[in-house]
């Protein structure tokens, strides 16, 4: 399944597509660096070249909360020494998510029940191949969406509320709506499957409807964004803010006929 994301320009420099990939996942049961390195060593000794340039995901879902915290920088480094390239981390506690954010490593939510059952078949096998559904930043055709809806019961998306400022270098992801009651700094990034509300200045990037929702909207009290996007359509308002009459005011951003509309609230 490969679907095209409209970029809106006549001669696009690239085509954005979504896909489903099979990836190696290391499901952590211990955070002890020595144990991890030992096992990697044993694993790679048998087939030294097999793992060269292999993308891997580190999963925290099966890790007991009693385990001491892990240093992601160090883990990434040791994986690299065995040819494995850490591309994302999955699941775990809020602290894991934050560590990943600080280390600039993408974070994926724990798989749904369906995937979990697959996992259990090989629960004692550390090197598990699982299918990662790439949901973010891809779009689904209305037909496929309709087909999806008949297969799976509708999921009630939770609203994520954050009351502290989002600072430069931080990234927040919400599957459903994202509500922020503090300033969002330039250099910060908000990603939401649903709507984004910012009750304060929005100076960073806000990407709403990232899983293919064209009806998502962005609301903010003080519009000074670096980038706004709904379902892949984007604008970079701060580049031309001197001529923008709405700069600094309360606005609502919506997607109408493939283009972004910004209106005063």
């Amino acid at each position: 399944m490969t679907l095209q994301l409209q970029t809106g320009t006549a001669a696009a420099a690239f085509k954005m597509t979504g896909g489903i990939y099979t990836l190696t996942t290391l499901e952590l049961h211990s955070t002890n660096p020595a144990d991890i390195t030992n096992q990697l060593e044993n694993m790679t000794r048998k087939a030294p070249n097999f793992f060269q340039q292999t993308p891997v995901i580190i999963a925290f879902d099966q890790l007991s909360p009693e385990q001491p915290p892990i240093d992601l920088y160090q883990l990434r480094h040791s994986l690299q020494q065995f040819g494995l390239i850490l591309i994302a981390v999955r699941g775990g506690q809020e602290s894991h998510k934050q560590d990943a954010m600080m280390a600039g490593i993408p974070w994926l939510p724990s798989p749904r029940q369906r995937d979990r059952e697959e996992d259990e078949d090989s629960a004692d096998n550390v090197e598990t191949n699982v299918v990662i559904m790439q949901k973010s930043r891809t779009t689904t055709s209305p037909a496929a969406e309709a087909a999806n809806q008949t297969q799976t019961p509708p999921v009630i998306q939770k609203t994520t509320l954050i009351e502290h400022p989002i600072r430069s270098g931080q990234q927040v992801y919400a599957e459903g709506d994202l509500v922020i009651t503090s300033p969002v700094s330039s250099g910060a990034e908000l990603l939401a499957g649903g709507n984004i509300h910012v009750y304060g200045p929005l100076r960073g990037r806000a990407l709403a409807g990232i899983n293919g929702n064209s009806d998502a909207r962005i609301f903010c009290l003080q519009f000074e964004a670096e980038l706004i996007s709904i379902n892949g359509q984007y604008k970079m308002p701060s580049a031309s803010h001197n001529s923008d009459p709405l700069w600094g005011s309360s606005v609502i951003v919506s997607l109408e006929e493939q283009s972004l509309h910004i209106k005063k609230l």
């Binding site: 602290s95 934050q98 600080m102 600072r167 430069s168 200045p201």
Partner: protein
């Protein structure tokens, strides 16, 4: 309970060490037992500003490595009672600061001192993370320009996610905004951000504004923290900061361009 205060910024050269030396000295002058630690391993600046560079025998890393006792490395300030300095090593790299090592030294200092001031290195790497990890309060040192404000914002994000208080889910680190090297003339000319801009972007309480002043360089050449020069604008501003830190409510000053006399207007201002 001792309070651990980190002076940090992200960006380099904004005035962290100047601030650490003056705030530590100011607190000690007010009768509080204070120690200031140089976390800038590899560079060593604090001892110069404090005028004790010739008295450094052992340093922070020696203590962490067990090569010296803490009391051997601590330097008692000659001018100010109640004040000690723990200098950095010039010959090691920042990786020498281990979590356990830093914690051990801080715990030991907490028995003898009320305030522990940590002078952070620039950047957001290991040394800066170590300096802020154990902090109870943070003085976010910022120059009124876009890149410095952006870096301060970044450091605030790190304080809120990577400090001990964040990791252990305790009450968050108390944050103070200190704007340094503020030049009202350049603000008027639109060459620098004004205080409101900086406050608005960082959204944390303002503890003080230190004007750009030639007295700072003079003080550092003499090895006397500028806070001791109560004649100077920067010295007075640092004294205000210390008083505000201790809970006094003092209006901010040095925010407007100095009114110039006739001769000064004729011949241009002096710093």
């Amino acid at each position: 309970m001792a309070r651990i205060i980190v002076v940090t910024s992200g960006k380099g050269g904004v005035g962290k060490t100047t601030t650490s030396s003056s705030i530590a000295t100011g607190l000690a002058l007010k009768g509080h037992r204070t120690v200031v630690i140089d976390f800038d391993v590899g560079l060593r600046n604090l001892d110069l500003l404090m005028g004790c560079e010739r008295r450094v025998v052992y340093d922070f890393v020696n203590v962490i490595n067990g090569e010296a006792e803490l009391h051997q490395a601590l330097i008692r300030d000659k001018r100010t009672e109640n004040l000690s300095i723990l200098p950095a090593s010039q010959t090691r790299d920042k990786e020498a600061l281990t979590h356990e090592g830093v914690e051990k030294v801080l715990n030991q200092l907490a028995k003898d001192f009320e305030y522990i001031i940590c002078d952070s290195p620039a950047g957001i790497e290991h040394g800066a993370l170590m300096a802020l990890y154990f902090a109870d309060e943070a003085i976010i040192t910022t120059n009124p320009e876009v890149s410095s404000v952006r870096d301060s914002d970044r450091i605030l994000g790190i304080l809120q996610s990577k400090s001990r208080r964040a990791v252990e889910n305790l009450e968050p680190v108390k944050e103070h905004l200190l704007v340094t090297r503020y030049n009202p003339d350049r603000v008027t000319r639109g060459e620098m951000l004004n205080i409101q801009d900086v406050e608005e972007i960082l959204a944390i309480p303002l503890i003080g504004v230190i004007p750009e002043s030639t007295s700072v360089l003079k003080a550092s050449n003499q090895g006397v923290p500028v806070v001791c020069n109560t004649e100077s604008d920067a010295g007075q501003a640092y004294n205000d900061v210390v008083a505000r830190f201790l809970g006094e409510d003092i209006p901010h000053r040095f925010l407007e361009p100095a009114k110039k006399g006739f001769l000064q207007r004729m011949f241009g201002g002096i710093g």
